[in-house]
Amino acid sequence: MQALTNVDFEVYAGEVVALVGDNGAGKSTLIKCISGAHLPDTGTISLEGEEVKIRVPSDATRLGIETVYQDLALCDNLHVVANMFLGREGATPPLVGPMPELAMEKRSLEVLETLHVTTISSVRQRVASLSGGQRQSVAISRAVMWSAKVVVLDEPTAALGVAQTEQVLALIRRLRERGLGIVVITHNLHEVFEIADRIIVLRLGRRVATFTHEGTTPEDVVAAITGARQEAAP
C-alpha cells in the first residue's frame, strides 16, 4: 500500500510547523521517514542544505533530528535521569563500565531547569509516578538535550488536560526561541493556531495546502483537511 505520494515539506530553524490532516492522511508515515523508523522507497532528505541519508533511528539522532512519539517511548520502571540518558549514558568502557551517574543527574536537572520544567519533585523517581504533562515534558526535554536541530512531536497534547497542555505548549515555544525547527503533528486546530508559524495540510498521502499563521482561519484549514476546497499543491 502506498501511504505517501510526492510529498515534500520543510521546516526552518526557529519555526513551528504544524502537520495536520485527517486520520490516514500520512502524517505518521511522513515523520517516520524523517526519524528513521521507516525507510521511504524514494526521496531525499536535506539538512542545512546538505543531502543526508536516514536509514535507522540512530542516523536521525546523530544528525540532530529528534522525535517524540505519541507513546513517548519512556520506560515506566526507570527513573527520570535513566530515561533522559537511555542509550547515551556515556559509560567508559561502553556497556560494561560504570555509568557517570552524578554527571547524568546534574545534567538532567540543568536541562529541566533551562526549559522551566519545574514541577518534577525528584529526577530519581520512576517515570510511572509522573503526570501526563510531566511525562511529556521529560520526553521533550530528553529529545532536545542532545543538541537537537529539529524536533518532531507526534500529538504532544493528545492525552493532556488543559493546564498540562498549556505547560507543554509553553515548552514548545521555548524550544522555538532557542532556534530549533519544530514539527508538530496534531488534531487540535485551536492548538495549531496557538503555536504554529506555518500549517501544512496532508490529505490522502499528498500535501494539499500550506498556510501561514497570519490571514488564515480555522475554516480554511478544515476545508483543506476534508477536501472541501482543493488548492494547488505548492
Binding site: P57, A73, A82, R88, A91, L95, L102, S122
Partner: protein, 420 residues
C-alpha cells in the same frame, strides 16, 4: 519564587535533604516494599522451625543450608536477569545437568585436566544460552517456547553425554573441593570485616559526593544505619558459620566439623555481588531493565535490544553451568537422576519469592539470594522435622503463592498511589 521553610520539599527540583522518616515512610506508603516481605517471611520461617527443632539455627545446620542453596541461588541469579527483561528461561535445570555431565565426561572419561573441563563447561553453558537467546531475540520465537524446548532437549543431550550407565562418578579432588571445603575462619572474618568497610566507605562517599554536587542525598542517618546493619549481619553470619556461637543458643554439644563459610556460599555471594553491580551500575544492566520496562522505547533510544537479550540469556546459562559444577561437586557425580524441571522451577520460585516481578523491569539480583534462602530454609526445616517429600512440595507451592499474592497486592497498592 522563594522557598518557604514550610514542609514543601516536593515542589522543588533540587530539594534539600529529606528526613529519615520522610524517606522511609513515603516509600512504604507508595507500595515500594522492596525486600521487606521476603525478610519478614524468612524471619517467620526461621522462628517457626527453630521452635520445632532446636538444632535448626545451629552452626552445623546453617552451614548445611548455605551449602544447599548454592545451586538454586546461582541458578536464580540468572533467572532474575531474564525476568528483569520480562522473559523466562525454563531450561536452566537442564543446562546445569548437561554441563555437569560434560565436565564429568571430559574429566573422568577423557582424562582432561579439571580446569580444562571447567573451561569447556563454562563455554558450553554460555554457548547454549547464546543459542537460545538467538532463537528468541533474532528469530522471534517466544523465550518461553525456546527454553521449554531447551528443558526437554538438553536433558536428552545430558543422557547421551552420560552414556549407558546414566551416572559418572566424579572423584576429582579439585572439583570435589568446591562443596566440601570451607573458608578458613580468619578469611571469613577478613571477608566480612573488609566487605563491611568497603561497603561503608563507598556508600558514605557516594552520599557526600551527591551533597557536594548539590544533588539531593539520602540522610546520613539512613546510610549509617544501613551500613551498621549490613556489617552486623555479615559478622554474625561469619561468627555462626565459624562455629563461634555454637552451643550459645543450642544446648548440648553439636559435632560440627566443617567450620567456616562453605565455598559454595562464597561463590554464590560473589556472583550476587558482581551481578548486582552489573545490573545497577553499568549500561548493560540499565538496558536489561529498560527492555523489561519498554523494549520499543529501548530500541528507539538506540539500544541494541537483540544483542542485550542474547547476552543476558547467555549469562543466565553460564550461571546454570556454574550451578551444574556445584551440583557435581556436592554429589561427587553427574547423574540423570536429577529432575531438571524441579531444579528450574525452584530457581524461578526463588527469584520471584525474593521480590523480582514476573512482569519485567522490577526487582534486583539480591532477590535470588533471599528467595533461595527462603526455599532452602523451608526444605531444610521440613527435612529436619522428618517430613515426607510430599509435604515439602505442598509447602513450597503454598509459600510461592503467598509471596506472589503479596506482590500482586503491593502492585495494586502502587497503582493506587500512581506508580503502576
Amino acid at each position: 519564587m522563594s522557598k518557604t521553610s514550610a514542609p514543601a520539599p516536593q515542589g522543588t527540583l533540587t530539594g534539600g535533604t529529606r528526613t529519615v522518616s520522610d524517606y522511609t515512610w513515603s516509600r512504604l506508603r507508595e507500595g515500594e516494599l522492596g525486600h521487606l516481605p521476603t525478610l519478614l517471611g524468612l524471619v517467620a520461617i526461621w522462628v517457626y522451625f527453630q521452635s520445632r527443632q532446636p538444632t535448626f539455627l545451629s552452626a552445623r545446620n546453617l552451614s548445611n543450608l548455605v551449602l544447599q542453596i548454592g545451586v538454586t541461588g546461582t541458578l536464580a541469579v540468572g533467572i532474575v536477569l531474564v525476568l528483569l527483561m520480562s522473559e523466562i528461561d525454563l531450561s536452566v535445570g537442564s543446562v546445569s545437568i548437561l554441563c555437569s555431565a560434560v565436565v564429568g565426561n571430559v574429566v573422568v572419561n577423557q582424562g582432561w585436566a579439571w580446569y580444562w573441563g571447567i573451561v569447556l563447561m563454562l563455554v558450553v553453558g554460555a554457548a547454549i544460552g547464546a543459542f537460545q537467546g538467538f532463537w528468541f531475540a533474532a528469530v522471534g520465537v517466544p523465550s518461553f517456547v525456546v527454553t521449554l524446548a531447551g528443558l526437554l532437549g538438553w536433558q536428552g543431550v545430558q543422557q547421551w553425554v552420560l552414556g549407558t550407565t546414566g551416572t559418572i562418578n566424579v572423584f576429582d579432588p579439585h572439583i570435589g573441593a568446591i562443596a566440601t571445603t570451607t573458608l578458613p575462619a580468619a578469611w571469613g572474618w577478613a571477608l566480612a570485616g573488609g566487605g563491611s568497610v568497603v561497603y561503608a566507605v563507598t556508600r558514605i562517599q557516594e552520599q557526600l559526593r551527591r551533597r557536594r554536587a548539590g544533588l539531593p542525598a539520602k540522610p546520613l542517618a539512613v546510610v549509617g544505619a544501613r551500613t551498621v546493619l549490613v556489617a552486623a549481619l555479615a559478622l554474625l553470619v561469619v561468627a555462626v558459620l565459624n562455629g563461634d556461637l555454637d552451643g550459645f543458643w543450642v544446648l548440648g554439644k553439636a559435632v560440627f566439623l566443617n567450620k567456616g563459610v562453605p565455598t559454595p556460599g562464597v561463590i554464590l555471594l560473589g556472583l550476587v555481588l558482581f551481578f548486582a553491580w552489573l545490573t545497577t551500575r553499568t549500561e548493560f544492566g540499565r538496558y536489561v531493565y529498560a527492555i523489561g520496562g519498554n523494549p520499543e522505547a529501548a530500541r528507539r533510544a538506540g539500544v541494541n535490544v537483540t544483542a542485550i537479550r542474547i547476552a543476558a540469556f547467555s549469562l543466565c546459562a553460564l550461571l546454570a553451568s556454574i550451578a551444574g559444577l556445584i551440583q557435581t561437586s556436592r554429589l561427587a557425580a553427574a547423574s540423570q537422576a536429577i529432575d531438571p524441571g524441579q531444579v528450574t522451577l525452584e530457581a524461578i520460585a526463588a527469584a520471584v519469592i525474593g521480590g523480582t516481578s514476573l512482569f519485567g523491569g522490577r526487582g534486583n539480583i539480591w532477590s535470588a539470594l533471599l528467595g533461595a534462602l527462603v526455599i532452602g530454609s523451608v526444605s531444610n526445616g521440613l527435612d529436619l522435622d522428618g517430613q515426607q517429600p510430599y509435604v515439602k512440595l505442598i509447602v513450597e507451592g503454598a509459600i510461592l503463592l503467598l509471596f506472589l499474592t503479596i506482590d500482586a497486592l503491593a502492585r495494586r497498592w502502587r497503582a493506587a498511589a500512581g506508580r503502576s
